[in-house]
């Protein structure tokens, strides 16, 4: 009996000392190995036990066997768990490494601004009208109440083609084309490239405009203001205010220059707005009755309003680009920064 007890306590000692898989394996072979295992040897030892004690001896050995097997199985399980854990740790990656991005391009800042405006006006019920960039003198000037040889034309330094055409100086010819081809109500915006023979640090010979035209019965100066406000508050900050200063354009009467709250200082005055709190943004007015007459629209029945602005100027403001010429440098390092 004491021999078995001794074995049992020896197993306990050895099991407690076996801390890794190799020691466990050694332990297993030594104790329950099929050929030389100590449990097997103890079982075989029954032959040398007195017959009367054999029963008790057999039971004691079996208990030992059970204990050893259970203990080894338990050890196996916790070792396996530890091994799995170690394996998982071994497969870990540096999650801070950069991801592989889809290779994205970009949309030109001016296009982005024009899209935004198109969207806003779409919500206000306007569609997009387009037209040619090389135009006739009549559609660019004559129909817009710029008399031939009038100084009003000097304000729009014009590129002429040898063919007798000109490069439109504003997108207003599209307004004329629209009014000539459709009956009111008309609500369109006219985005596009325009050209002026002007080339210095502040001017580009080609730039972009978005113009708006609404013609219907009963349109008022108040509607012009309301539409400007709705548009500009969506395009800029919701608390943007506007200021209309009477001005002159041949194609609108009355005409006004529109200032908006300086977007930098919010109207308190800063170097960008020369301390005025206002930013000059666009020109607007009620469509001149001569223009309506020219397009076969009765100014006694219909009225209209229009405004126009440089999309490049808006994009300069939005993307903090100080020089309009930057837009035509086409430096990918800049273009690819433009998001949203």
């Amino acid at each position: 009996m004491t021999q078995i007890d001794e074995l049992a306590s020896r197993f306990e000692r050895e099991a407690a000392a076996a801390s890794d898989r190799a020691a466990w394996e050694e332990l297993r072979v030594r104790w329950i190995g099929r050929k030389q295992g100590l449990v097997r040897a103890a079982l075989d030892g029954i032959k040398s036990v007195e017959p009367a004690e054999r029963r008790a001896y057999g039971e004691a050995v079996n208990r030992l066997k059970e204990t050893v097997e259970q203990r080894l199985a338990g050890m196996d399980e916790s070792l396996a768990a530890r091994e799995r854990e170690t394996a998982r740790r071994g497969a870990a990656v540096d999650v801070t490494l950069p991801g592989r991005r889809p290779s994205l391009g970009s949309i030109h800042p001016v296009t982005r601004v024009v899209r935004e405006m198109t969207q806003i006006f779409g919500e206000l019920g306007y569609s997009v009208a387009e037209g040619p960039e090389a135009e006739t003198d009549y559609l660019n000037f004559g129909a817009l109440n710029f008399p031939a040889d009038h100084p009003a034309r000097d304000t729009q330094d014009t590129f002429f083609l040898r063919s007798g055409h000109l490069l439109r100086t504003h997108t207003s010819p599209v307004q004329i084309r629209t009014m000539l081809s459709r009956k009111p109500p008309i609500r369109v915006i006219c985005p596009g490239r325009v050209y002026r023979n002007d080339n210095d640090l502040r001017h580009s010979p080609m730039f972009h405009q978005v113009e708006l035209l609404a013609v219907d019965e009963g349109l008022t100066v108040g509607h012009l203001k309301g539409t400007l406000l709705a548009f500009l508050r969506r395009l800029f900050a919701p608390d943007t205010e506007i200021r209309l200063r009477p001005s002159f354009f041949p194609f609108t009467e009355p005409s006004a220059e529109v200032d908006i709250t300086c977007q930098i200082c919010k109207g308190t005055g800063c170097p960008t707005c020369s301390g005025t709190g206002w930013m000059e943004l666009l020109g607007c007015g009620m469509v001149d009755p001569r223009v309506l007459d020219e397009c076969g629209i009765d100014p006694g029945r219909y009225s209209g309003f229009a405004f126009g602005m440089g999309s490049d100027r808006v994009a300069m403001n939005r993307y903090n680009i100080p020089n309009i010429r930057t837009f035509f440098d086409n430096d990918e390092r800049l273009l690819r920064q433009v998001r949203g």
Binding site: E130, H150, F160, T220, V221
Partner: protein, 683 residues
């Protein structure tokens, strides 16, 4: 344009500060660009728009201020004491060109003594930055800045036969103007001549020969009205711009000729002595100036403004501004336009004034700020987006999502650049500008590729390891049969270099990366494009092709022939060539049954185009072959010289049942045999 505050105060009381005056003037359309202290005085810098010639002088601005402040306008004294000699005995004026000069007023002052101007006059001129010359010339300048009427003083003694004729210049005539420059005249120009020769360029500048000098004693003062267009044509042709031409080109006051001349005569007699001859010469075209009036309906005014504007205010503003107002009904007025506003009130076809022009006067004095903002009732959307607008944004989005950056380049370029790449309309010559910035921007572009290549080079030179850019824009072709040139819209793209890094699984861009983008464009547009090998200007032969849709060429792509740094690959497509595609919304449900894959490697001549193999597969398409794809091209060990291995991956799938390997094998074998027979490499 500079105005003196103390000068303005001669004609109207100014109850507010300079700052307030600036704001009020800006609010009625006379934008103050700045103010500046000038001794005791203040200078206003006013931006006077081209329609407000009446405000290009102090009385005009004072008139606006009088209306703003409800103050009376103090008109300066005009009529001089006159001598007994009658002006008609001293000189005469004939107008031969009534179109160019509808009115000519003259007065004569005898016995003046030319000398320096008195202090008050010098100060007035200095207050607006003008230089004093002598007492007579200063008075003419003073009147221009006071009343707006340009004047000219002649030395009567120097006028041949002491008379003037207003006529077209004769061929070959010349005139030395006051600035000492000899001007070559042509018959479009209007001259003031004496009996023999031109002595002044009408509405622009006087002549040097008849100039007032220290020796002058008798002077003729001219105050005329000249046709806008004729003054402009002459001034432009001679490259001149004067205070007088600036006003006449924009439309001076045809009613101020007499008052201007008469007040000048009075001032000259006061300052320089002498006697003003009795009467004035006032020659004019019949019915000049026309009188213009129109009907003002106050209800329509309110409806147009979108706010009720008090009638009493409108009446005060209009009469203060010089309009004649008579009642024609309860809220209906007949309004007469003052002569100084005639050009701003171009008539309706029936000769009357447009009501909208009258509305403007009330609205600007009422103030835009007092009109409440409102949105018009919108009966729904105006019109849907056009197919072109939809396509264009699709193309733009696809390219931007595919790694390309959008660029915008000028629409004009040099003739050399323009000739460097093919044009969709090769028969159409480039359209040159008549007044280009420089040779570099002298023709309208017929292709977007020259600019894109330039942009790519620009970025390459800045060290970018890869370039991928595109542009969507119009090109220009002459088209004499239409009113405007042919202006199709194109999309062009260019790429080259290595995108990414080993970690990012880099791509060395080649022709097929470019072509893939083009194919994706065709796919979103729902069109089938075929690549036909072609020799194209600027693109490398053997690596370039035309893009053909239904037999029609709509663009091209290829490797850019001229190289600098890594190779570039470019494509250009007409947007109308991508229009009207079959963008079917129908989809096909995938089979519920498993499909069977098969691969086939064919060794064939490098001369055999993939398109031929592709067509053959399509032509012999076995039953249940759902799709096939070229997956590997291999040349090298095991492949004979002059041959290439092409591996194609096939997918079979039946919508009705599971296919067996045996039946697929059988079909693949038959297809393989056909491909082998046609294209298989034979040693």
């Amino acid at each position: 344009m500079l105005f003196s505050k103390s000068w303005l105060a001669e004609y109207v009381d100014l109850p507010e500060s300079t700052e307030e005056i600036s704001r009020r003037l800006t609010d009625v359309g006379l934008a103050i660009e700045g103010t500046e202290d000038h001794g005791e005085d203040v200078r206003f810098d006013v931006e006077v728009t081209s329609n407000r010639v009446d405000c290009m002088n102090h009385l005009g601005v004072a008139r606006e201020l009088a209306v703003i402040y409800g103050q009376p306008l103090r008109m300066p004294p005009v009529a001089p004491p006159e001598g007994v000699e009658r002006v008609g005995d001293a000189t005469r004026v004939d107008i031969e060109d009534e179109e160019g000069c509808p009115r000519f007023v003259a007065r004569v002052v005898r016995g003046v003594k030319i000398g320096p101007s008195p202090d008050w006059l010098r100060k007035r001129l200095e207050s607006i930055g003008s230089r004093s010359i002598n007492n007579v010339v200063d008075v003419t300048n003073f009147i221009l800045w006071e009343m707006g009427q340009p004047l000219h003083a002649y030395d009567l003694a120097k006028l041949e036969e002491h008379r003037l004729v207003v006529r077209r210049a004769r061929e070959g005539e010349t005139l030395v103007t006051l600035d000492g420059v000899e001007r070559k005249l042509d018959p479009e120009m209007l001259v003031i001549a004496d009996a023999v020769r031109p002595v002044g360029l009408g509405g622009v500048m006087g002549g040097a020969d008849s100039e007032v000098t220290d020796a002058t004693t008798d002077i003729l003062i001219e105050g005329a009205h000249f046709d806008r267009r004729r003054v402009r044509v002459a001034a432009r042709a001679l490259g001149m711009h004067t205070d007088a031409s600036h006003r006449f080109e924009r439309g001076a006051d045809p009613g101020s000729c007499l008052d201007g001349v008469t007040r000048a005569a009075r001032l000259i007699a006061e300052i320089a002595g002498g006697t003003v001859l009795a009467g004035a010469i006032d020659v004019r075209r019949a019915n000049f100036p026309v009188s213009r009036s129109g009907r003002l309906d106050l209800d329509r005014l309110d409806a147009f403004a979108g706010a009720p504007i008090p009638a009493a205010d409108s009446e005060r503003w209009l009469t203060g501004l010089g309009f004649g107002v008579t009642r024609a009904g309860e809220r209906l007025w007949d309004v007469t336009v003052p002569t100084w506003r005639l050009y701003d009130f171009q008539p309706r076809p029936d000769g009357s004034a447009y009501e909208q022009d009258l509305f403007e006067e009330s609205i600007r004095h009422f103030g835009f700020a007092n009109i409440p903002a409102a949105l018009p009732g919108i009966p729904g959307a105006d019109a849907p987006r056009t197919p072109r607008q939809i396509l264009r944004e699709k193309v733009r989005d696809l390219l931007a999502a595919s790694g390309y950056a959008e660029t915008v380049s000028f629409s004009f370029q040099s003739p050399e650049m323009d000739a460097a790449f093919p044009s969709l309309r090769p028969e159409a010559k480039p359209m040159p500008l008549a007044n280009p910035l420089s040779d570099r921007y002298s023709v309208m572009r017929r292709s977007l590729l020259p600019n894109l290549v330039e942009v790519a080079r620009f970025n390459q030179r800045r060290g970018l390891p890869a370039v991928r850019v595109f542009e969507i824009a119009t090109v220009f072709y002459e088209n004499p049969s239409e009113k405007v040139p042919d202006q199709p819209e194109l999309v062009a793209l260019i790429c080259g270099g290595i995108v990414g890094s080993p970690w990012q699984r880099e791509v060395d861009l080649d022709l097929f990366d470019l072509k893939g983008a083009v194919e994706a464009l065709a796919e979103v547009a729902g069109v089938r494009l075929e690549a036909r090998p072609a020799a194209l200007t600027g693109l490398l032969e053997g690596s370039s092709a035309e893009l053909v849709r239904d037999g029609k060429r709509i663009g091209w792509f290829g490797r850019v022939a001229e190289e600098e740094g890594y190779p570039l690959y470019a494509a250009e497509i007409a947007l109308d060539g991508l229009e009207g595609g079959d963008i079917s919304l129908q989809v096909e449900a995938p089979s519920r049954f498993p499909g069977i894959d098969a691969d086939l490697t064919l060794t064939h001549s490098v001369e055999t185009a993939w398109a031929e193999i592709d067509r053959t597969i399509a032509g012999h398409r076995p039953a249940d072959l759902v799709s096939w794809e070229m997956t590997v091209r291999y040349q090298g060990q095991g492949v004979p010289e002059g041959a290439i291995n092409t591996t194609v991956h096939f997918l079979y799938n039946s919508p009705e049942r599971s296919l067996t390997q045996e039946e697929v094998n059988e079909r693949q074998l038959a297809l393989a045999a056909e491909l082998q027979r046609r294209f298989g490499w034979k040693d």
